[in-house]
């Protein structure tokens, strides 16, 4: 099979198209023919070595496809099933061996591309607004990087739940995307101070919740734009890690809450993974959640896809094996 291999960590160029043997199945695994693989920032972190995995490896954590064969103890899926997954390394390939309990069924009403594109970003957006902080109608949410992969979906979901959404973006183009997704207010942080703007927009009251995948660059000001007892949900750190935090600051700033979350803890049981994906796929099928696919690349062009991702162009990128 064709696959992308990383022999040594580094820049996008370390990803090479190779001919690899089909993966060997463990008893609880299924072999899936990959029709679409999603490109995520975590793939870049494995590629450049900031996240570690034994070398060499096939990158990619997310995809959709069709079950080809199953291991001797697999019971949850069968050959021919359309499935999607996230959190399984090796998706940049024509075939991947996945633990069967990572695979979720894809309904006929949505395409493989939609399913692959929705897994990491969509599930993340879903747990953010439903579980990390359960948004209520009438609450105000600040969404950083509101035109990013997760950000756009958080804006859409938050808007659909009846919350007031304030988004931050880096350019006018991205501001238009965030508005289309349902942001009530958009702050272009490259020319406006988001702290002052949020205070102005909330008449000094602050927001109920901040959804932040940016980290270091936004942290300090976040503490100043939350309501009494407000919640800061940190789900990523695209600008770098936040320096250690003195918990007394949460008290000084008004009995604040803070969480540092990762998707795995919100899809830890098979039940929760299925419930979350089925809710997500349902919204996509009903047209209530639009997954924007910015660009598709042949598998061989994985390096180009990573270059585009890292130059922070908006929207979801997919590889087609």
């Amino acid at each position: 099979m064709k696959a992308i291999r990383v022999q040594q960590t580094g820049g996008p160029e370390v990803m090479q198209l190779i001919e690899a043997p089909l993966p060997q199945l463990k008893p609880n695994e299924a072999l899936v023919k990959v029709t679409v693989a999603g490109v995520n920032s975590i793939d870049g972190q494995f590629r450049d070595g900031s996240l570690r995995t034994p070398l060499p490896f096939i990158p990619g954590q997310e995809g959709a496809g069709v079950v080809e064969s199953v291991g001797s103890q697999a019971k949850l899926v069968k050959p021919g099933d359309r499935v999607a997954w996230s959190g399984t390394l090796g998706s940049y390939a024509e075939y991947v061996a996945s633990p069967e309990n990572h695979l979720v069924p894809v309904p006929a009403s949505i395409t493989d591309e939609q399913a692959a594109a929705a897994m990491m970003h969509g599930l993340t957006a879903h747990y953010l607004v439903n579980d990390a902080h359960k948004l209520k109608a009438g609450e105000t949410a600040l969404v950083h990087a509101a035109a990013g992969g997760v950000g756009l979906l958080v804006v859409e979901l938050a808007h659909a739940m009846g919350a007031r959404v304030i988004g931050t973006v880096s350019s006018e183009d991205k501001a238009a995307l965030a508005r289309e997704a349902g942001a009530d207010e958009v702050i272009v942080f490259t020319r406006q101070d988001f702290e002052a703007e949020v205070k102005r927009l909330t008449e000094g009251k602050g927001v109920d919740v901040v959804y932040d995948g940016v980290g270091k660059a936004t942290f300090e000001k976040n503490l100043n734009v939350m309501k009494l007892r407000g919640m800061l949900v940190l789900y990523g750190m695209s600008s770098g890690p936040v320096p250690p935090v003195d918990p007394a600051r949460l008290s000084e700033k008004g009995s604040l809450y803070m969480a540092r979350t990762t998707l795995a803890h919100f899809t830890a049981t098979r039940e929760e993974l299925l419930a979350r994906t089925s809710a997500l796929f349902g919204m996509i099928a009903a047209g209530k959640l639009k997954i924007k696919i910015a660009k598709k690349y042949p598998l061989a062009d994985a390096a180009e896809a990573h270059r585009d991702m890292e130059s922070r162009k908006a929207g979801k990128l997919l590889l087609i094996p």
């Binding site: 940190l234 003195d246 949460l250 008290s251």
Partner: protein, 308 residues
């Protein structure tokens, strides 16, 4: 701390003057006395009391002379009379004595917001309560137990263990003899607890994060062992997408409505016998020095009151 004779305060337009029946003694009074928390000098100490309204300011409509009232978080309760902003006074219902009211305002309302708002405990959940035989700890243990939560309590002595069990603790860990991390894991079959209520701080915080279930909540509401140093947020992620809050009472009684609801709820529990206060030490106002010495010497359990 010297006993002096002062004129009875005159109420400002929005104030009421209260003739005190009892004043609560709290650690915050020690910090104010020492200067750890700065207050302009000279000042009348004390942040908690109950008594009878003796005069009201021109703009005060909600109160009249003779009303039984209580308050917290306003300085000046170590006295026969105190002038207090009317919107900080809550009525004391007839089933609650002045001493009970004075003894419960700070610790009772603290326990109440911890169990009901910082982390709204539900039946069947498990809470770890540190210093469970302390003033807030005993009240929090009772409230958590009444909600139907399983309470794991940490205490230092056999006497305190007995108090925690009487308050409703299901399990008691002697943290001086047993590692509370290992013991909590054992008691929860490795699953961890839904919430940790921690007023100890420096010596317990890290291990507290290790015994939370995924997506569990650390409520850090004090630092009797010292302040928790700055910590790396990645710990919250690697230990299971954990939540942390560092609350203070003022933010949970910030509006008049919330203050009233919370006080009514706590007084209701006392009146119905569902919340038992341990008022163990009552001192005449003139013996305030002894009260502080005993509080600081950790010779007391339960609540200390001064009677003017």
């Amino acid at each position: 701390m010297q006993l002096v004779d002062l004129p009875i305060p005159e109420p400002k337009a929005n104030e009421a003057v209260v003739k005190l029946a009892a004043s609560g003694v709290n650690f915050i009074d020690v910090y104010n006395r020492e200067g750890r928390y700065k207050v302009p000098l000279p000042f009348v100490l004390g942040q908690e009391g109950a008594g009878t309204v003796s005069a009201v300011g021109a703009d005060v409509k909600s109160l009249k002379v003779g009303d039984h009232v209580a308050w917290s978080s306003v300085l000046g309760s170590y006295a026969e009379y105190a002038a207090v902003a009317a919107d900080r006074l809550v009525p004391v219902p007839s089933g609650v004595t002045d001493q009970q009211a004075a003894g419960t305002m700070l610790q009772g309302m603290t326990a109440h917001y911890l169990a009901h708002d910082s982390f709204p405990l539900k039946r069947g959940q498990t809470a770890l309560v540190h210093a469970a035989a302390g003033g807030v700890g005993l009240l929090l243990t009772q409230m958590a137990h009444n909600i139907g939560a399983r309470v794991i309590a940490t205490v230092s002595t056999e006497e305190k263990a007995k108090l925690a069990r009487e308050a409703g603790a299901d399990e008691v860990i002697f943290y001086t003899q047993t590692d509370f991390e290992a013991e909590t894991k054992r008691l929860t079959y490795g699953k961890g607890v839904d919430v940790v209520y921690d007023s100890v701080g420096k010596t317990t915080f890290e291990k507290g994060l290790n015994i939370l279930r995924p997506r569990g909540m650390m409520v850090l509401f004090g630092g009797s062992s010292g302040a928790v140093p700055p910590f790396d947020l990645i710990a919250l992620s690697t230990k299971g997408s954990l939540f942390v809050t560092r609350p203070k009472l003022g933010d949970y009684i910030a509006t008049r409505d919330e203050l009233m609801e919370r006080a009514e709820d706590v007084f209701g529990m006392i009146g119905a016998g569902k919340l038992k206060l341990r008022i163990e030490h009552i001192y005449p106002l003139a013996e305030v020095q002894r009260a502080h010495e005993e509080l600081e010497g950790r010779k007391t359990t339960g609540k200390l009151l001064l009677i003017p």
